[in-house]
Structure formats: structure tokens, C-alpha cells
Assembly symmetry: C2
Homo-oligomer: 341 residues x 2
């Protein structure tokens, strides 16, 4: 049975999702918030900006028409970067079918509100949390577009919708496991970008793979700590959406968060490194959100202290408080010797 699926967004992941869903015979429409981008996609049948050299399926419909974006859709894929979700969906709100199920593929935390992507959707659109889901995991887009194997998780509270996402998008090379820890999957996907920026900074400082592995290990510990404080499950952080995505994001040469961090580590200013980044670097805004979230999560505990996230804090200090990358890393390395756990 063919699903009619609306993809909201025009980035690399929006495009890859569109391709896989079309390959599976679904009826897919992709909406770009930008008329010129939609025109360019339609004219060239390629996403030359974010996913060059990959031909779009003939069956893929492309539009920038707000009223057409979600018309007749059975469900939608939310692929707008986190900080722009609210604006895009406010535009689409007048045309959104009531209760439309939506699967988000964004990885971040909205600034100021500190909401996860699916929480932003519910905040804008209303409805119960069973209408949303998230797809996440180690899935650098150009690899998936080439048909190289990837394994991800789909998470949500409504098992029927999660399984619908799973069966609609799974390909022989793209395996989707299900998971019911939506909070954990979204938090892991957001916070791993912070650690990836830090890992990129280490790459830029050329301090080697031993230090980077230690950073990933301690980074996973601290983002798990935040997750637990916010009701997520530990296993989610040690699964594909956590450790798996962390590893890919921190090592793939094409990862945007890692590459941005590397430029900063090499001495580029945050401003210049952002200007030269190819697209939105989710980890930057997310770092600010996660520092706030750690404070908020800690405020309700007996001590009232923020959840302890030294790597996230060091990353924040580099990005927003003008600390030098080398000093921030030295501070991390020079904490007193102690037992590991």
C-alpha cells in the first residue's frame, strides 16, 4: 500500500529520505521553504547544494507552495534544521491536516525554549505526543545516497506509526530498528553534535586519536548523564542513536559539526568557521541549549547543581566565551587524577 508522504525541508537528509521513499514506491512530495531552491531542484533534478551528483527520482514532486506542502499527505518527514522548525511549521500550520503524523530527522535543541524537535512540532501544531516520531542514528547522507549500508533507529510512542516509518523507508542497505525512547533518541542525536564539535576541535589541534577516543568516551558518559536526568534510557545512548551516531559524526571527514570544530581548533574564529561551513552547523546552537538544559535538569535535584558536563562546558567556553581551544582542552586534561567511575 502506497503512502503519500510530505518531506518538509530541502537539505541533504530531506533529499536522501525522498530518494529512499521513492525507491520503495511511496508517493513523495518535497517542500522547500525557498522558491529558488525548489526551482533549482526541479530544473536540475539534483540537490546541487547539499547532495551533488545524485539524481532525484522522476516520481518525486517538488514544491515551495505552502498550501500544497502537506495536502493529502498520510504523514510527513520533518527535515528542517532545529532552530528553523518553528518558523517553517508556523508557515505550514494553516494547511496542516489535523493530527498529521510527523517523523522528525532534525538533531538539535531549540534555543531558549530548550525543546526537542518533536516538542517544537507539538508546540506549534498541538496534538498528542503519539503523533510524532524521530529517525536518528549513524547516517552521513552522502554515504546513504550512494547505497552504502547504514543502520538507524525510529522512535516514538505510537508503535504503529513507528513501524509505518520503518517499513516505508527501510531499504536493503538502510536498516531501521524501532525504539520507544523518543526522548533519548532525540537527546542523543542533539548532544552528540556538541561532542562532535569538541572532537573536531581536537582534530584541529592535532592532538591525536588517543585523546579523541578519550573525549568520545567521556562525552558519551556526560550526554548519557543528561539524558538520564531528563527521563531517557541509558541503553538508547549506548545504541545506534547515541554511540553509533557519535562515532560517525566524530570521525567522518564530511561531518559538518566535526569539520566546523576542526576549523576552530586550527585557529579560525567561530564567526569565520561558521561562514565557511557548508550549511547549518546544528552543534553550535545546540551547545548553548545543552548548557541551559543541564542547568534546568539539575535545578530540580537536591543539590540544585547543573548536570556535570565538562566537555560541553569547555565547548561552550570556546564557542561563546572566547576561550582558546588549547586552553579549554588543557583544562579538561588537567583535572585531578582519580578512579574512573
Amino acid at each position: 500500500m502506497k503512502d503519500r508522504i510530505a518531506i518538509i525541508g530541502d537539505g541533504a537528509w530531506a533529499t536522501v529520505c525522498a530518494i529512499m521513499l521513492c525507491q520503495n514506491g511511496q508517493a513523495v512530495r518535497l517542500w522547500s521553504p525557498f522558491a529558488e531552491a525548489a526551482e533549482e531542484l526541479g530544473d536540475h533534478r539534483q540537490n546541487r547544494k547539499y547532495l551533488p551528483d545524485v539524481t532525484l527520482p522522476d516520481s518525486l514532486e517538488i514544491t515551495a507552495d505552502d498550501s500544497r506542502a502537506l495536502a493529502g499527505a498520510d504523514w510527513a518527514v520533518q527535515a528542517i534544521p532545529t532552530q528553523f522548525i518553528r518558523g517553517a511549521w508556523q508557515r505550514l500550520l494553516p494547511y496542516c491536516p489535523p493530527g498529521l503524523p510527523i517523523c522528525s530527522v532534525a538533531k538539535g535543541i531549540e534555543n531558549h525554549t530548550l525543546l526537542r524537535p518533536t516538542q517544537v512540532l507539538l508546540d506549534v501544531l498541538g496534538g498528542g505526543s503519539s503523533r510524532v516520531a524521530a529517525l536518528s542514528g549513524p547516517s552521513i547522507a552522502p554515504e546513504v545516497a550512494q547505497g552504502l549500508p547504514a543502520t538507524v533507529v525510529a522512535a516514538g510512542e505510537d508503535p504503529k506509526f513507528v513501524e509505518r516509518v520503518q517499513t516505508s523507508i527501510s531499504r536493503p542497505y538502510f536498516r531501521v530498528y524501532t525504539n520507544n525512547d523518543l526522548t533519548g533518541v532525540e537527546l542523543a542525536g542533539a548532544t552528540k553534535n556538541v561532542i562532535a564539535v569538541a572532537a573536531g576541535i581536537l582534530d584541529g589541534l592535532a592532538v591525536g586519536d588517543n585523546a579523541k577516543a578519550a573525549l568520545l568516551t567521556r562525552g558519551l558518559v556526560e550526554i548519557t548523564r543528561l539524558g538520564l536526568a531528563l527521563g531517557a534510557r541509558q541503553e538508547t545512548f549506548w545504541g545506534l542513536a547515541g554511540m553509533g551516531d557519535l562515532v560517525t559524526t566524530c570521525f567522518s571527514p564530511v561531518g559538518r559539526n566535526r569539520s566546523f570544530g576542526e576549523a576552530v581548533g586550527r585557529g579560525k574564529s567561530v564567526h569565520d568557521a561558521l561562514a565557511e561551513a557548508h550549511g547549518v552547523v546544528e552543534g553550535v546552537a545546540t551547545t548553548a541549549s545543552v548548557v541551559e538544559l543541564a542547568k534546568r535538569a539539575g535545578a530540580s535535584t537536591p543539590s540544585g547543581a547543573a548536570v556535570h558536563m565538562p566537555i560541553t562546558q569547555a565547548t561552550y567556553d570556546v564557542l561563546f566565551a572566547n576561550q582558546s581551544p588549547r586552553d579549554a582542552i588543557a583544562a579538561l586534561m588537567n583535572r585531578p587524577l582519580k578512579a574512573e567511575t
Copy 2:
């Protein structure tokens, strides 16, 4: 207070340990099982075979004399590769001071006996388990030799000996945490080499970083499962000795297990890839041991089935049962879709 420390072995890690201990002012003697190797080290004051371009400290004594190896030592570093520990220490047994504390840095499981390195030491030398310790974690030797930062764990049952190792070898760039899960630290160090061979095979097949990240994630799950069945602690596998070392070993271009796997993944025979490897590839013999260990650990459970380790089994099938790397990986990817946990 200066310690007199005997280093047993002449590989890259033996050399790096010798250098750091000398830098800390300890009195260090390094024993090679091979007279020519000892002569070469002494003549050139470099380990040209395993750690070129690094000058040995003047204070380092080098010997191949069995009777001199451990004479007067306060404690020893065991740096012989796993499958050769028994033979080397049987040679040294007549000269070994009774109860000499020994810290092992080997990462493997002895074939047939299925003993961890410190268990082999106790089997040969006798004495209680508080005389042994292990040092492990993400620590690719050439990086440490350059003074690049690394963070590792020292584990053992006697906290005094573990702290003695910690304080003797810690450098500003080499941080040693303590841990009391000797079983977990040694099992993690051994089994991560199996996953690293598998990760190298993926590199050789050029299937991308998404697949490799999924392999690491599921690999960590399965080696943790074995560890739990053998009495290790879960946290150890998610710490520096587990996840940390796994990440370095699977991504560092100079890792021997990964490089060997990559050659096999590119189509080289196991025999030829081993012949071209630079030194002992611990992961190969360890793969055979771990498959047996999974059977033994499972035999005492109600089902009697081996601990489920599909990646280890696939690696075994490639190394010892002539399965093609691509078929083994395809079999891993094509298991039925299901929930993640």
C-alpha cells in the same frame, strides 16, 4: 622514591612504558627475549623496528639476559604479546623474585587455555591475584611516544599496587585512572581487537563510516555481553578500556588489528595479510579464543548456548573458515528487522 622496574618485552608499548617511567625518574631495565633485538636497541638507542625516530632515555638499561631481567626489581611490566607470555615467563621463572608484582599491558586471550594475560602469569608463576594488574585504554604507542595526550586505566585487586603503577607512570600527557575490575579491563582490551579486525575488514570493503559506526556499536554490545557473563562490570566496557580503546583501535590508521583487517577486506589472504603485518596481530589469535570463551561462558547457563557474538563469529568465519569478507558482512546486515534493544 625511585622504583626499580623491569620491563619484559621489546615491542612498541614496552618501549613507550620504558620511556615514560624513565622520564619519571624510575630505574628501568628492559628485557628482550631476543639477543639481537637487545643488541640493536642498545647500539642505536632507538626501537627502529617498532617505534622508529624515538630516542631511548640514557638511563634505560637493556638486556637479553634471563637471569638479569628481573633482578632487584620492585615490580615488572609484562609487555610480551599474549600468545608468547607463557613461554617468556617460563624462561624467567627461575629468576623471578617470589611474589613480584606484575602489571600486564598485553591485550589478548591465550589460545586453548582461554586465560587472560594476568591469569597466564599466575598460572606460570603462582601466587595470589593481588600481585597482578593491567594497564589498558586508548593508547596507540607512536602518539604517546610523541607526548600527545592519552588517558588510560590501571586495574587490579590490590589498590596499593594499582596506585603504585598509576603514580610511577603518569605523565602530564599520560593520565592513568584506577579501576578495580581487572577481569573487565583485560577482557575489553582483548575483545576490542576482534571488533577492530572486523572494522578493518569494513574499511577494506569501503562500505563507509555509517556501517563502521553501527559495527562498533553492536560490537561493544556483544563484547560487553561476554564480559557480563564472565563477571566483568558493564561500566568498564563503556569506559576508556572498552569504548575508548575500541574507538582508537578501529579508527587510527596505524592500528595493527585494523590495518590487518583492511588488507583482508581488500581481498588479501589471511596468510599474506599476516605476513605483511608489522608485528603481532593480537586480534587474530584472540578471535579464536573469544569464540571458544563465548561457548564456555554459555555452557554454564540454563540454555547452554554460547554467548551471542555475531560480529566475532563473522570475523572468525573470515579468518578461520574461509568465508569471503563480503558474504560475512552481508550476513550480518541481513538479519531480520527488529527492535533495537
